[in-house]
Each structure stands twice: as C-alpha cells, then as structure tokens.
Amino acid sequence: MRWLLGLVLMAFMATTPLLAVEPDEILKDRQLEERARALSSELRCLVCQNQSIDDSHAPLARDLRVLVRQKLVSGESDDAIRTFLVERYGDFILLKPRFAADTVILWIGPFALLVLGGLVLLWKSRQGSHIKVEALDHAEHVQLAELLNAKNRSDG
C-alpha cells in the first residue's frame, strides 16, 4: 500500500496540478451531476492533504471523480459506490466516517457531553435553590435599623 501511495504521489508531483472538476467531466443529466458533486465532496483525495476529490487538483482525484460518475451513470446507488470505494481504499477515503463500534465516541461524544453538562447544571441549580437565606435575627434587625437611621439623618 505504501509503495502505491508513493508512486501516485510521484506521479502527482511530476504533472502540473489542474483544478478540480473539469468541464469535460460534467454529466449531462443534472440530477446525476448533483449527486456526483455531493458524493465527491464526501470522498477524500487520498494523495492530498485533507481535500475532497471535488476540491482537489490531483490526477488521482480526477480518476476517482470520473469513476464515481461512470458508476452513477450505470445506475448504482450512492451507498453501493461508497461501499465499493471503501473496499478498494479503506475507510480512509470517507470524509464522513461511518457510524461503527470504533466511531461511537466520535459521533456521540460531543452530544453526550452536552447532555451530561446540562444534567450537571440542572442538578447544581436544584441544589442551589435549596440553600436557604437565613432570616435576620432580632439583634441584626436592631443594628440595621440603627444604620438606616444614621444614614437618613446624614442625608437630611
């Protein structure tokens, strides 16, 4: 696998980069083309640094875009194409990881944290509302009245 990647990388560097989705690739059928664009924006260009094949200039990305379109024209479903590509290149090609046992934390984690955080806050605020503010006792009332009187006198 490594040598293959190296080979492709060399081929990539030897040619002038071209821009993504070239005019001659576009399908006549607008609906199919839209599906092709949506699908390719979720597929990783394997030789690039974090680009989808829809965005990438690399020849390999072009080959993959053409492949996706050929398969779409021959009537295959999006899922079938994804499965085919994963069998060929591994999960690495999917920019949107599949929901599986080892991606549970990835998909659920942030939302679980939100819920957990919310529950803790709810619990805290319940706890907070139990804290009773103690009423002033007689001595404090007298003290307060004196203070207020003193203030009123100085104001007046």
């Binding site: 005019p23 640094q49 999917l94 990881p97 984690g109």
Partner: protein, 661 residues
C-alpha cells in the same frame, strides 16, 4: 556578527526567563517583597533580549545574509522588502521566535500595566509567564535554532514558499499569535490564583482586558486567515474544517466562553472555579494548536515546514503545562470559595448555558481533529474526519447557541423574567420571521436552509438592537434625551451589541453561500459564459512578468444585462526561486457579493479552461468578524476595563490582602 549577537541574546533570554520563573514565585510563596519585586524587572529584561534576537534575525533577512541557513531556505535577494521582513515568520524556526517574542511582550505589558495589582499575584503571574517562555526558548535553542550558519555560503537564497508570498503573510501570523499567546496571560493568572488559593471579582477585573485583547486579535487572525485561504488556494472555499484551522478555532471557542464567564465573575463574583478551569483550558488548546501545526502529526492544506522530531519536545511542553495546570486545579480548586448565587433564569444562567454550548462545540472540534490520530494509535485503523462530520456536530451546536443569544443578552442579572424578555424580543422575532418569509419568496425553488440562516442572522442583529434600544428608549422621552441616553450607555454595552450583531452578519454571509453559482467551461475568445446575474467573456490570454514572478493571465470582461461591469483577471503564476505554479484567483466585489474567477489551464490553441463563481453576500462572513473584533475593542476601551489596565491606580495595600487570604 549581529547573527551571533542575536543567538547569544536568545541564550541570555533563557537565563533571565529562568530567573523570572524561580525567584518571584519563591518571593511570592515566602512573602519576600524583594524577590517578588524581581518579577517586573526580569520580565522587561527578558523581553529586551528576545527582541534583540528577533531584530538580529530580521536584519539577516533584510540584508540577505545567505550565510544563515534559515535565510537561505526562505528568502531571495530579489524579494520585496515586505516579504523579507515577513519571511522571518514564514518558516518553523522564525515563527517560533515570533511566538516567544509575543509571549514575552505580553509578560512585559503585564509588568508595565500591573501597578495596581496585588504584588504577590503579579509576581506569580509573571513567574508562570517566565516558565512558559523558558520552555519555548529551550525548544528553539535545542531543536529549532534560526541562527545556524552554513559552511558553503550560497550565492542566492531559495526563495519563499510561493503560496506564502502574499500580503496575508505579513498580517495573518502575527495577529493569530497575538491571540493564541495572549491567552497565556489568563492561564498565568489562573495558576497564580490557584497557588494563592484566593480568587475574587478583582482577579476577574484584571484578567478580563487581557482575555478580551487576545480574543480580538484571534478573531481578526482567524478571519484574515480564512480570507487568505479563500483567495489563495483558488477553489473558492473559505473554511475547510482543516486541522490547522481547527487548531485556531478551538482556543477561539474556549476563549469566547472564558470571556463570558469572566464577565459573570467580575459582575457577580460567581462561576469562579469554572472560570479558572476555562483559563487553563483555553491556553491548553492554544498550546495544542501550536503542537498540531508545528509537529506535523496531522496533514493539512496549510501546513508547511513541519518536523515530527520537534513534536516530541512540544508534546513535553504540552504535558508539563496542561498537565501541571490541571493537576494544580484538581488539587487547589476545591479550596476556592464559591461566590454569588443566582436563579437558573438570569443573565448568569444564560451565560452558563453559553459556556456549555461553546465548550461542547470546542470539544466536538477537538474530538474530530484528534480522533483519526487516536484511533490509528489504538487499533491501527485509518479513518478520515472531514467537513461533513463537523457540519453535523459543531454546526447544530452553534445554531442552538445562536438562537438563545438574544434571550441571554436581554435577561437581567441574578433573577431574570423570561416572559418579559420574550415580550421585549417579540418585535425582533417578528422581523426575523418576516425576513425568512421574504427571502424564501424571493428565491423560490432555491435551497431552504439559506432563508432560515438569513432569519437566524437577522434575529441576532435585531436581538442586539433590542438590547440597545430598550436601554435608552422610553415612551414619552424626547429624541434628544434618547440620544443622550444612547451616548451615555457604557461602551461595553455597545461593544457587546456590536459583536453579537457581527455574528449575525457572519451567519447571513454563511447562509448565502447556498445561493452561490458555479460555472465551469472551456471558452474561446468572446464566447459568453453565464455566472449568476453576470455574463463573462474571454478578452485575451497573455504572458506577463512581475516583481519576482512570471505568469499567464486570462482576462475576462464582465457584463450585467447590457451594462459593462469591468474586467476580471486570473492567472497561473510561477515564482522565481521555486518553480511551483500557483493559481491566482481573480476577485471582483459587487455590493456585498463577489465574482470569483480561477483559471484551470490556458490551452496552446488559445482556449481557456476556467471556473467562475458568483458568491452573493460572501463578504459579510469576514465583515461580521470585523464587527465582532470592533465590538471587542470597544468593550476594551470601556472605562471600567481601562481602569483595571491602568498603571496609575494605587497599588492595593499588600497587608489587607494578606489578612483576608
């Protein structure tokens, strides 16, 4: 000679930073005012020395001293002066030096402005700053020395990475670093507070301006970087959820949470422990970002000059400061006294919810960024986590938060009245709904998310407007009085309204991307091509020479209906020194939208393979960010905040503080 001088200055700076770390902390712990007083002076000296080193390197670049390896690899004698100066931070070694320069600059500023701070707090804050500086100075000296000479002095340098040869290079990295590194001050304050076991509203008042300052710079830095990527990478995207971008977004999200929680702490003396934790986490994410970008453990569209060997060192620094900070937190936080109580429905409560969402979205970005790395280490399977993941996790969190923002802005402190607030926001809500319906009606058949996004943006803007209006308008008041009341509002109130309205603008800009139009074609001369409301046609394709590069240009004329709207040029550029071609996008702004041209290839027969985009309202994305930063700056200029920064205020009596502690 000056290069060696710079090298020595850097070594000396390590020594003084070490002094700055140990002596003031010792003084603070043993209550020795002489040792604690060392903090300020050693911070000044360390800054002076690092500045000297930095200037020495800059001089080597400006004078094209090709006996210095770093200059050979990243500069060229024909480069314009701007790229010689900014070339210093175009590479790993130089940008780390800039990082440290900004770090010690912040320490020196704290020392300069910290006259009103309790002496022990100032000493321990500067000591922690010194510790961070020590670690990174050692990192530079041992693994990334920019002052190394070459034995065979070449006649010419290799030139700058062509993607970096852009005005963006001059502005973006310093801005970003001012933001990243600025959060170190909050970290140092947090550690200082933990060491002394004392934290109160005064602490928050000292921390808030620094956090705000860092946040303003980080906001501008991220926006600038996004716009740079937009026009430079040449495929019209402005955010790629790329690891390097995420590295800057995470501290921004956490820092935004911190900004809000320090307000609660300053005003209501509540959320103390949480604010301390956020201070530590925000800078931890800044450090993590530095690690991710500098170590090369992740692949990215932006990464340049990275080296795994250095990763281990930064990982060590990371473990020391994040681990140390969190351990100290776990040990000391339980002894901190919790302050002010508040009802769940209140400004404080709303800000807690804000913090929850911001922190969770930061975690979502963090998990998505690091998951592939973690999974590969654990079970060896390679997966990718890209834009679709973040669109499904972080975006919904953002949307939920933004819907709640106007409520939070309007709620009263301590105990809020949700019904009253809802009534006050009714007009804003009505206008938002109306804007959804109108945009929907105008764009029937178009994407549905766009009008909804516009509605959310309008909701945020109107929410901010409601807050300002409700504070200065009362029925029966004359316009003159209302105007005076508006002028009399604290600047932080205006700042907050401006910043939140800025988010609204950004949201509208993002929503409008759904209406973007893309046209790809191979065109001959004068052949018209439709791009949204515009028609473009190829005028000419020609070769041209510029300063330090040559390029093939495709020039198009733009018409709208029958009216001519000027020319647009896009080119394939090759820079002297490195023969790597780059695509220079052509961008023309019409109203708030932009027409974006990017040439694929100019064919030998004169035809041009081209892609055009019409991006309505796209400038609002960055315009909104500028409003956010302006809002932050306005808050920073608020009298209350300024006083905390002022050196003129009297030094708090040392004795009093000790007695209460």
């Amino acid at each position: 000679m000056s290069v060696e001088l710079g090298h020595f200055a850097l070594i000396l700076a390590f020594a003084t930073a070490l002094m700055q770390t140990i002596l003031p902390m010792w003084g603070a712990l043993t209550r020795d005012p002489a040792l604690a007083g060392m903090a300020r002076y050693s911070a000044f000296v360390t800054f002076g020395l690092v500045l000297l080193a930095y200037l020495a390197l800059t001089m080597a670049y400006v004078g094209s001293d090709f006996s210095v390896a770093n200059v050979v690899m990243n500069s060229h004698s024909t480069k314009p002066l701007m790229y010689k100066i900014s070339g210093v931070w175009s590479n790993h070694e130089g940008s780390m030096l800039l990082w440290v320069l900004i770090l010690v600059l912040f320490a020196a500023l704290v020392a300069l402005r910290g006259g009103g701070m309790p002496e022990r707090l100032l000493a321990s804050v500067l000591s922690v700053q010194g510790g961070i500086a020590c670690a990174f100075l050692l990192f530079i000296l041992l693994t990334s020395n920019p002052f190394l000479r070459v034995t065979d002095v070449p006649f010419e340098g290799q030139g700058l990475n062509p993607i970096l040869e852009d005005p963006g290079l001059a502005i973006h990295p310093p801005m970003l670093y001012l933001g990243y590194v600025g959060f170190s001050v909050a970290f140092s304050f947090a550690v200082g507070a933990l060491v002394h076991g004392r934290i109160d509203a005064v602490w928050a008042r000292f921390v808030r301006p620094w956090t705000l300052l860092a946040w303003v710079f980080l906001t501008l830095g991220i926006a600038m970087g996004s716009y740079w990527a937009y026009y430079e990478l040449g495929w019209g995207g402005w955010w790629f959820w790329d690891p390097v971008e995420n590295a800057s977004l995470m501290p921004w999200l956490m820092g935004t949470a911190l900004l809000h929680s320090t307000i609660v702490m300053e005003k209501r003396d509540a959320l103390k422990v949480w604010t301390i934790l956020l201070s530590i986490l925000t800078f931890s994410l800044s450090l993590l970002g530095t690690f991710l970008v500098r170590s090369g453990v992740i692949t990215s569209v932006h990464s340049f000059a990275s080296d795994p060997a250095r990763g281990v060192f930064i990982l060590g620094i990371l473990t020391l400061f994040i681990g140390g900070g969190l351990a100290l937190f776990a040990w000391r936080a339980p002894s901190l006294k919790q302050g002010g109580l508040f009802a769940p429905v209140s400004r404080e409560g709303a800000l807690v919810v804000n913090n929850l969402f911001l922190a969770t979205s930061a975690v979502a970005v963090l998990v998505g960024t690091l998951y592939p790395l973690a999974l590969e280490t654990i079970n060896g399977s390679k997966i990718s986590v890209g834009a679709p993941y973040f669109n499904l996790t972080a975006i919904p969190l953002f949307v939920c938060l933004l819907i709640l923002v106007p409520f939070g802005q309007s709620l009263a402190w301590k105990r809020g009245d949700l019904v009253g607030v809802s009534q006050r926001l009714l007009t804003a809500f009505g206008i938002a709904i109306l804007s959804i319906l109108v945009t929907f009606a105008l764009t029937i058949g178009g994407p549905i998310v766009a009008p909804l996004g516009v509605g959310l943006g309008v909701w945020l803007i109107m929410g901010s407007a409601t807050e300002v209006i409700s504070r200065c308008y009362r029925r029966g008041l004359s316009w003159k009085v209302i105007f005076e009341r508006a002028i009399g509002l604290p600047r932080s109130a205006w700042g907050s309204a401006l910043a939140h309205a800025g988010i609204g603008l950004t949201v509208i800009g993002i929503a409008a991307t759904a209406w973007g139009v893309e046209s790809l074609a191979v065109v001959t001369k004068k052949e018209p091509l439709n791009v949204g409301p515009y028609t473009v046609s190829l005028e000419q394709a020609f070769k041209r020479k510029g300063e330090g590069f040559r390029e093939e240009v495709a020039q198009f004329s733009v018409t709208e209906g029958t009216g001519a709207r000027g020319l647009i040029e896009t080119s394939k550029r090759v820079h002297t020194g490195r023969e790597m071609p780059t695509t220079e996008a052509g961008i023309v702004t019409y109203g708030f939208g932009q027409l974006y041209a990017s040439v694929n290839e100019i064919l030998p027969d004169g035809r041009v393979s081209i892609r055009f985009y019409w991006k309505p309202l796209v400038t609002l994305i960055w315009g909104g960010a500028i409003f956010m930063a302006l809002g932050g700056a306005l808050s920073l200029s608020d009298r209350r905040v300024r006083i905390a920064l002022s050196a003129k205020t009297k030094r708090a009596p040392l004795l009093n503080v000790e007695a209460k502690a």
